[in-house]
Amino acid sequence: MVQSIDRSQGRAGSVSAGSVNTYGTYTGNRALQLEEPLIFEMGQAGRCGVDLPEPPKMKERLNGLRRKGEVGLPGLSEPQVVQHYTRLSQKNYAIDMGVYPLGSCTMKHNPRINEKVARLAGIGDLHPLQPVSTVQGALELIDSLAHWLKTLTGMPAVAMSPAAGAHGEMCGMMAIAAALEAKGERAKRKTVLAPESAHGTNPATAAALGFVVKPIPANARGRVDLAALKAALGPDVAAIMLTNPNTCGLFESEIVEISKAVHEAGAYFYCDGANFNAIVGRVRPGDLGIDCMHINLHKTFSTPHGGGGPGAGPVVLSAALAPYAPYPWIVKDGDKWRVAEDGAKVDGMPLGRLKAFHGQMGMFTRALAYIMSHGADGLRQVAEDAVLNANYVMAALKDVMSPAFEGPCMHEALFDDSFLKDTGVSTLDFAKAMIDEGYHPMTMYFPLVVHGAMLIEPTETVAKEDLDQFIGALRSLTAKAKTGTAADDFKAAPLYAPRRRLDETLAARKPILRWKPSNNPPGTDPLKQAAE
């Protein structure tokens, strides 16, 4: 047993080495790890952060609809509210705090120059209902971004308004459906093909539009099985939805052949652009024969991701699909920019609007700032460094962990759980132990085609020494797991997080989705209550 050293100079109540997390504090806080109640459990009824005037006396016109009970708003002062949300924000692990290795979900640094540009008064203070004559610069900005997105993808048209990746998928697939409708083929082409490793949004989008989804198996190299794809193509197929590089982190090396076969069968090629970061500046998807692709500005083009900001999912379209793009788009008449929405000058059947206003202006600004600050050479290096970093991780771990496929990867390194065989440690346990090491776990159990998958995407924005520490932590955990005697430690992880292992099963089976005064009387533990 390790001798515990008394660092308290004999004073009672101090912590000594070896007894971390074993004593309670009066507050329940652990140093600066603060326990935070829900806002409804704080403060006093009737307290208010602002001084509202008494309403003037007037005749009541509520016709009996006047509220009878309490409103039930929390009663808090302004500093209490500020402190509450600041404390909550400190519980969050964020891209600004460290390595965020989620695979298939490019989580990269959001450059501060983007933020500076987005806060310029002429951009940050815009209102979408301003007269068009007062927002000429903003419209030009949208058009400039559209230009660069078309240029980088090698596609002739773009729809800027979709609100995020899945919305962009919906837009692209609606354009395909409209094009089929125009050809009188919508009724007979009901099948959409998607590889087994596809992002879940692909089959979901197709199904939401009434298509029947047919999975295409992967070959032993982790790519689409071309023979199986050709066998599945027929007069009933509307489109294929394919991500390239795919969710196994591999480039679909037969993509030109795939697009040729798809088009010969009279179907369209939807490319999922979620992993565009791996090829931006290096490959133009238009050259590969795709018909449309959404671009997650919050991935490849570094706009804030997740809780940090809204997504944005412009969709580039081939000439065949361009007539079916949604409203609105930006047009220059002479020297004046305008927002076109009448469709009078367009052949075919535009989809109408998919979204209020013009798209995510704040994200457009940041993405354009990113493109302009990088330039062509910089964007090319983004893709190169993203692929280099992933392969550095792969090379540094492949002797102790088990790569799912042979050979180099693109932007993400995929491992299966065979290196954990007979250790009693699962992918989930391994991921939880990473939290104790100070890392957000990688994507796990996805893609489904790989057993116990661990998908690591470092992106180009992690420095080599930070990657080295990450790799060191994973090698250390791997060595510990392989002793065969550490399963209990892994099952207990995380030890040092504000909460230990959460009961994900209970949370999914009996979720508590809404706070109610009655189910949480003061002093009760909502988690415990759900268990009872």
Binding site: Y445, T505, A508, R509
Partner: protein, 125 residues
């Protein structure tokens, strides 16, 4: 005399007379982990062999359940809505999914018997 057959998608079907009871195998529930949600087809629905007709969702993933043979759903296990954990605890007992009136018993011939299924699972490593 009940007869149990298995699919490569890890479903089992136990046939008594012309009605088959369908669920997922022990191997399948182990691979899925804790099941948190099950969606079963309503009685009266007609399904074709190989048609996705139920969904099982675990903490890891959501998976389709395919009809091992064609027929009409005569009963579904409504209890799974409240106790999806039955699929983990008793995959071949209380954790059954639905019962099907078989339209063509000949379709059973293409399925594996217990010995063949065990060998199949073994081959997956």
């Amino acid at each position: 005399m009940a007869e149990t057959k298995y699919t490569e998608e890890h479903e089992w079907i136990r046939v008594e007379g012309d009605v088959g009871t369908i669920g997922i195998t022990q191997y399948a529930q182990e691979q899925l982990g804790d099941v948190v949600f099950v969606d079963v087809p309503a009685a009266g629905r007609k399904v074709a062999k190989g048609e996705a007709c139920a969904v099982v969702e675990s903490v890891k993933a959501a998976s389709d359940i395919y009809a091992p043979v064609g027929g009409e759903v005569v009963e579904s296990n409504a209890a799974l809505a409240d106790t999806p954990g039955d699929v983990n605890a008793e995959p071949t007992g209380k954790g059954w999914f639905f019962k099907l009136k078989l339209s063509d018993k000949g379709e059973l011939d293409g399925l594996m018997d217990e010995a063949a299924y065990e060998a199949f699972v073994k081959s997956l490593g």
